[in-house]
């Protein structure tokens, strides 16, 4: 029964799907740019993702993957806010360890991004949001092309000074909720100086989603990343 079986007799013009960071899809077309958003619980990752979707959805074909601690909460938030049609939002289940799913074992996230491209593509951009985790959580380069680390002023103005892989190495550091700084006694100047010391030339954005400019600076940075990705 096993002499002439399906593995030896199977022929296909398409190769099997890509393994991880390949820049092309199985059919040879260029895949979407993938940007990860990580950071501590409550720093405003999901709100930033929602604001980015609002800002970019008219000019780009985009989709979102969430990695929640409790299965689908962040995805449900994005659905309630109606920032994208439901078929453009995928939730990955993380077994109580969201950092594992974005760094050590990225297979479920890779499947989610590939399925989104297959089902609603072609896509320009996929935002991969980490579940709220700690300061050491970063995305694997096998999963995303660039990553944003989101912290907030209410989490303590010493976070940039403490460093850690997220603050130090993320392609963009976002210091969120600047409107709260006077109320929680956070010193924005000190945060900026500490971030500069930790990150040298890597960019930092101070943002208040309630302010006039909202997510505009981060959206511009994303546009820049996309232009660079397309030029590569």
């Amino acid at each position: 029964m096993h002499l002439d079986h399906s593995l030896s007799s199977s022929h296909s013009h398409h190769g099997p799907s890509a393994i991880s960071a390949d820049a092309h899809r199985p059919d040879g077309s260029r895949r979407a740019l993938r940007i990860g958003l990580g950071g501590p619980v409550g720093s405003g990752k999901t709100a930033t993702v929602a604001a980015l979707c609002h800002a970019l959805r008219d000019e780009l074909s985009l989709a979102v993957v969430t990695n929640d601690i409790y299965t689908r909460e962040d995805a449900e938030f994005l659905l309630r806010e109606a920032v994208l049609p439901p078929e453009r939002i995928a939730a990955v289940e993380t077994g109580a360890c969201p950092h594992t799913a974005i760094r050590d074992d990225i297979s479920a996230n890779l499947e989610a991004v590939e399925d989104l491209e297959d089902e609603v593509g072609p896509l320009d951009l996929i935002l991969v949001e980490s579940g709220g985790d700690n300061l050491t959580a970063t995305f694997s380069k096998g999963l995303v092309d660039a990553q944003i680390f989101v912290i907030d002023v209410a989490g303590g103005d010493d976070i940039p000074r403490k460093g850690g892989p997220g603050v130090t190495t993320a392609d963009l550091l976002v210091v969120n909720k600047t409107d709260l700084a006077p109320y929680v006694g956070s010193d924005l100047g000190r945060m900026a100086a500490d971030a500069k010391a930790q990150r040298a030339e890597l960019p930092v954005v101070f943002q208040s989603l309630r302010g006039d400019k909202g997510v505009a600076a981060v959206a511009d940075w994303v546009r820049g990343q996309l232009a660079a990705w397309r030029a590569r």
């Binding site: 199977s10 393994i19 409790y70 990955v92 077994g95 479920a108």
Partner: protein
């Protein structure tokens, strides 16, 4: 080839998606059937001799080179719960990705083409073992161990169980794991002549029922 490849394949950190699955432990914890190390041990023992034996035999048969399409059909018939079939295919797809990156092999590529959304995980595991130069008993060991180690790790997270107690559970199951892996490999060898019906079909009613309950929860930590 090297036997040490088995350590790579069986490592809990092998990036094939297992960390997000509890092997039914999350449902059993919520139902109050797993409350401590002793009940975890009985849970794992029951799982080992049912789902563990079945998956070990499927993996061994795939490692021997039996037709993966027939084996996948056998796995479907042995998995009445659609939630468990979905989980098995998802994990199979993730195992496929990790295996192709680790041990590139034309049989893995062919299997990926046949099942773009994933074959049942033990079938992929068996072909991966074959690609790594491992034999049917190795594949059976790996699958049988996985059938209990995932549940033990998940229970550490779910109950804040002492990790030393959970590891002790796995160590105490080792003699039974030996027996299950060898029985699975024997069944796989019989299946070469007698067909896939010679593979075991041992079932665990509460794993099937619990998996359906779990899939219906709005909030959960693990995918299965």
């Amino acid at each position: 080839m090297t036997r040490a490849a088995l350590l790579v394949l069986a490592d809990g950190r092998f990036p094939a998606g297992g960390h997000a699955h509890s092997g039914g432990a999350e449902a059993a914890v919520k139902a109050g059937r797993i409350t401590d190390a002793a009940s975890l041990e009985e849970f794992c023992r029951g799982r080992l001799h049912t789902a563990g034996l079945v998956s070990a035999a499927l993996a061994a048969a795939a490692a021997l080179g039996l037709d993966p399409v027939e084996l996948d059909e056998a796995a479907e018939a042995r998995t009445p719960s659609p939630a468990l079939r979905t989980a098995a295919r998802r994990l199979g797809r993730q195992m496929m990705r990790a295996a192709r990156a680790t041990w590139p092999h034309p049989e893995l590529d062919a299997l990926a083409r046949l099942f773009p959304k994933g074959a049942h995980q033990p079938v992929v595991l068996g072909v991966a073992a074959r690609a790594a130069g491992l034999g049917p008993a190795d594949a059976a060991y790996c699958s049988a161990y996985e059938s209990v180690s995932g549940a033990a790790t998940a229970t550490v997270r779910l109950l804040s169980l002492d990790p030393f107690d959970a590891t002790g559970v796995l160590a105490r199951l080792a003699p039974e794991l030996d027996r299950v892996a060898l029985a699975a490999a024997d069944a796989a060898r019989r299946a070469v002549d007698e067909g896939v019906d010679a593979l075991p079909a041992r079932s665990a009613p509460l794993l099937e029922i619990g998996a359906e309950a779990h899939a219906a929860w709005a909030v959960r930590l693990f995918a299965s």
